[in-house]
């Protein structure tokens, strides 16, 4: 385990932005913090990055010598702002020195990182003239520079155009192999593309924490499709909710979920089963169900 978060709470004057959430991040995983705007994603990430003091709760890093673990974190804010008068290279030098990188290592790391985010050609240009996508990639570069244990990214792609979005998502997929990544997004599809596990946040509380597969399966068992040789009229009406596709094909929503009961009924009524299928929810459906709980 890399980080252990216990009962993390942030209260602004009247409003409780994060309501005592607890979760763990395993080393080498990629976790998406998913939720609509205002769910408390940014607040949570800023507390993890040491930029915002939690009202209460604990953040523990594995093998951390002190409570200041900023050295081991790389953070990309939602809208990274630099010093516009610096060049990309100057900013990385500044950042690297603040993160205690040695002089000899610094130059190599800067060259390597700038290459990785494809900013090598503009390294000596002033950041003031950079586009949004370039700033986002430079923000990624400064977060990676000191090889942190945990990379925290706040909505890394939401402000980008489709091209910039694809670039950054590709970079993240590559990084996933080398680092532990925690990133927030309000787009399920982005989470699905990069990560294998999600934490779903709503109004400051965790609604779901687990792998995407288990999320999909957790909500999948709500419908069954049955097709028979004969008509299905008046077979299930008294038992469950029925949706007719045609006379001999129905979708059933058993509650509680018991397929044996349905098959039993079929035998009682002497229908010949042609097709039986448990309907899988799409990830979207599962997400919406979790959100509407």
């Amino acid at each position: 385990m890399l980080v252990n978060i216990q009962n993390l709470t942030k209260t602004y004057k009247q409003h409780q932005a994060v309501k005592g959430i607890s979760f763990q991040i395993e080393r080498g995983t990629c976790v998406a913090l998913l939720g609509p705007n205002g769910a408390g994603k940014t607040t949570t990430l800023q507390m993890l990055a040491g930029l915002l003091a939690p009202t209460s709760g604990k953040i523990q890093f594995a093998k951390a010598a002190s409570t200041d673990f900023r050295q081991r974190i790389g953070f990309l804010p939602q809208h990274p702002t630099f010093f516009p008068w610096m060049t990309a290279k100057e900013f990385l030098q500044f950042a690297g020195k603040l993160s205690q990188l040695s002089k000899t290592m610094l130059e190599d790391k800067i060259t390597e990182t700038l290459e990785f985010v494809s900013l090598k050609d503009v390294r000596n240009k002033r950041i003031g003239g950079f586009s949004g996508g370039m700033k986002q990639r430079l923000g990624l570069a400064q977060a990676l520079l000191h090889e942190p244990d945990l990379l925290i990214l706040d909505e890394p792609v939401s402000a980008l155009d489709p091209n910039g979005r694809r670039d950054v998502l590709e970079i993240l997929s590559k990084l996933k192999r080398e680092m532990t990544i925690l990133f927030s997004t309000h787009v399920l599809h982005d989470a699905e593309q990069v990560c294998d596990s999600v934490i779903i946040l709503k109004e400051g509380s965790i609604m779901w924490n687990g792998s995407l597969d288990s999320l999909k399966n957790s909500q999948a068992s709500s419908a069954v499709q049955i097709k028979t040789a004969e008509s299905l009229e008046n077979v299930f009406e008294d038992l469950v909710m029925v949706e007719y596709i045609d006379a001999s094909t129905v979708t059933l929503f058993p509650d509680p979920f018991d397929t044996n009961l349905l098959l039993q009924r079929l035998m009682e009524k002497k229908r010949t089963l042609v097709h039986f299928e448990r309907l899988q929810d799409s990830l979207e459906d599962a997400y919406m169900k979790v959100m509407n709980q």
Binding site: T81, P84, G128, G129
Partner: protein, 63 residues
Amino acid sequence: MGEINWAIVTPLLILQAILAIAALVNCLKQEETTGPKWMWCMIIVSISIFGPILYFIIGPKKE
């Protein structure tokens, strides 16, 4: 007015010129200024000493 000793006064004029030119160059190189750029150029050139200083303090747009 009597004779002016230019050796005494010239450095003062040179300093003022440097100040104005530095402000002008900075203003023209600036991507954006608070208020129109031409207005700042006018202020820098026409008001000696205080024009350039005023520009340096509030002219360049902060992000």
